[in-house]
């Protein structure tokens, strides 16, 4: 369906759909590429990411002087192939992103829907939980937990998952409140639907589009937090090729071999940018979707 805005010449439009679409497409292709790379990592990497070659330490990438054609992105301080480590690093970032979002999504959406649907005292409790969560300093608590329990991939995922649910809860709660009083909820109950059925089959699909947007943003946040934790030495343990860990290990050599810190940094930047662009695009698509339906 065309809106009045769409018939205007491009420079007169209030929104620039072409640019927005391009950005979304860029974000989507970055994310898809990252997933493909992560899944097929063993087939894409030229070397074992853990194999050391002390004869070839801190080899620069191919476009610089005194590089080796065999190591496209050079090697790190103990001679591990940087490209292979970067590719395996995608796995860790995405694994953490996806699992954290699933954990925090389950917690947040459950709490939010229940609070939004039942209202009253239940909702007051939910709001209290959200406020409590918001007053917890995220990084400090994550650091403390990891320091106490010991660092491992599982611990990082669980810690972040248990801490990052509040935006899910807030969005699920408000959108559920909007949906709750619509007639089709009453109609479903009048047709004999149980409470659980109403929450899962009637409410959830109608707020899912909002939750998808939150999921992308939370995923980007989780990936950044993992990098930060790993950089501080309290995230993913060595010798796993996490991007944050790569930056941390590289910081001693950044003066003479700056690429060791720039490469994982750029990778992190591109992935997070891609996820955020995709999230923004999804949000805009949702908005036009709503307008087309005449809501």
């Amino acid at each position: 369906m065309k809106t009045a805005d769409d018939t205007q010449p491009l420079w007169r439009r209030r929104r620039l759909p072409a640019f927005g679409r391009l950005a979304t497409l860029l974000g989507a292709s970055i994310v898809v590429t990252a997933f493909v790379v992560a899944i097929f990592a063993p087939y894409l990497t030229p070397y074992d990411p853990f194999a050391q070659d002390l004869n070839l330490r801190l080899v620069p990438p191919v476009w610089m002087e005194s590089s080796h054609a065999a190591h496209l992105l050079g090697t790190d301080q103990i001679g591990r192939d940087y490209l292979s480590r970067l590719i395996y690093g995608t796995r860790i970032s995405l694994l953490i992103g996806v699992l954290t979002v699933i954990t925090s999504g389950l917690i947040g959406v459950t709490i939010g829907i229940v609070g939004g649907f039942y209202g009253g005292r239940v909702d007051a409790l939910v709001m209290f939980l959200i406020t409590c969560r918001l007053s917890i300093p995220l990084i400090l608590v994550a650091l403390t937990v990891v320091a106490l329990v010991g660092s491992s991939l599982t611990v990082v995922i669980l810690t972040l998952g248990l801490l990052l649910w509040e935006r899910f809860a807030v969005v699920a709660r408000t959108t559920t409140m909007q949906v709750r009083n619509l007639d089709y909820i009453a109609a479903a109950q009048a047709a004999g639907a149980s409470r659980a059925h109403v929450l899962v089959r009637e409410v959830l699909p109608n707020i899912a589009s909002h939750l998808v947007v939150v999921a992308t943003l939370e995923m980007a946040l989780a990936i950044l937090l993992e990098a930060a934790l790993s950089f501080l030495g309290l995230g993913v343990p060595q010798p796993l090729p996490s991007w944050g860990l790569m930056i941390a290990e590289a910081k001693e050599y950044m003066f003479f071999s700056p690429w060791v810190i720039v490469t994982p940094g750029v990778a992190l930047f591109i992935l997070v940018l891609g996820i955020n662009l995709l999230g923004d695009g999804l949000r805009d698509m949702l908005r036009t979707d709503l307008r087309h339906r005449g809501w």
């Binding site: 039942y118 209202g119 009253g120 619509l182 007639d183 089709y184 009453a186 109609a187 479903a188 109950q189 009048a190 047709a191 004999g192 639907a193 149980s194 009637e202 699909p205 109608n206 339906r293 005449g294």
Partner: protein, 325 residues
């Protein structure tokens, strides 16, 4: 004939108001009973309390609410859920918002039969297509695959009716089913409801604010005002000889062929619905009533005007408004 649904002395109260104050009505198989009154008089709340779908803050009590011989007041939420949509179905006022935008028409219709009859998706969709054809929707197969936003208001309301009939209910509660539709579609939907009711022997509880619809559809009517049934009886009786001042006022507001003189303005009832708090006594209409007197502030009993016609007013059945000012 034994009533299918009978409600006795239903009361529903909210924290700050009494929404329904002692409503009784009986509904027989194959009969249409209209609940008529202006907005806020407790019609919808009465209907929702039969289904036990009231808002959480509402408190419901009654001497009994019976479906055949089952007491709905004593039923658990689970038992009620089994009854809803199966034996007692309901359609709502707004066909635009009564359908879940996330599912196709077919999926929403089929779900009811799958839930109550443990039917397969295939069987349920066949039944849905059959009912869509029956409510006059052409190309039901195509409609089943469509989403609600692809349908017009009239089509949606037909589809809502078809959904309500999926399990062959005995009682159909229709809460202002045609209010949101334009007049021509309204008339088609009413004709359809009438036809289906006769074919299926449904007991229809029709909620409306339009006496025109009452005259067209119902055998029996209960006029509600401020949470009470102020007058009830067979439709011809009520239209021929309305007794309660409110009923007379309502009937004065609509043009009746042969009775309203051309050029003469239609009547209106001055004032608005009062707020009924806890401990309110007497007739709720007394502030707007041309015949109000001091004794109207005392509890008013139901009077029998004969032939199943009851009214709740101190006046005799044949009272006349004094012509002198």
């Amino acid at each position: 004939m034994a009533p299918v649904l009978s409600i006795a002395n239903l009361r529903v109260s909210f924290p700050r108001m009494e929404a329904v104050r002692g409503v009784s009505l009986t509904l027989r198989g194959g009969e249409t009973h209209c609940l008529v009154g202006e907005s806020g008089c407790g019609k919808s709340i009465s209907a929702l309390s039969v289904m036990n779908l009231l808002p959480r803050s509402a408190v419901r009590s009654a001497d009994h609410i019976r479906f055949h011989e089952h007491d709905l007041l004593a039923m658990s939420e689970r038992q009620m859920a089994w009854l809803r949509g199966d034996k007692i179905a309901m359609i709502f006022q707004e066909p635009m918002t009564s359908l879940n935008p996330a599912y196709t028409i077919g999926s929403q219709m089929a779900e009811v039969l799958e839930r109550h009859r443990r039917a397969s998706r295939r069987q349920a969709l066949d039944r849905a297509a059959e009912l869509l054809a029956r409510v006059g929707i052409t190309a039901p197969g195509m409609r089943l695959a469509q989403y609600p936003h692809q349908l017009s208001g009239g089509l949606r309301q037909r589809m809502m009716i078809a959904t309500a009939l999926m399990c062959d209910p005995e009682v159909l509660i229709a809460d202002e089913p045609t209010t949101a539709l334009d007049v021509t579609v309204q008339s088609q939907v009413l004709r359809l409801l009438r036809k289906l009711q006769q074919e299926m022997g449904l007991a229809l509880l029709l909620i409306t604010h339009d006496f025109g619809i009452v005259a067209r559809m119902a055998e029996h009517v209960s006029v509600m005002y401020a949470g009470e049934v102020v007058e009830s009886g067979p439709v011809e009786q009520i239209i021929k000889a309305p007794t309660h001042p409110y009923t007379r006022g309502l009937l004065n507001c609509i043009p009746v062929p042969g009775m309203t003189k051309p050029g003469e303005p239609l009547g209106s009832i001055p004032g608005g619905v009062p707020h009924i708090g806890r401990g309110f006594l007497g007739c709720g209409f007394r502030e707007r009533c041309p015949m109000a007197a001091r004794e109207c502030a005392e509890p008013v009993h139901l009077h029998d005007a004969g032939e199943d016609h009851f009214y709740r007013c101190r006046l005799p059945p044949d009272w006349k408004l004094d012509a002198s000012p």
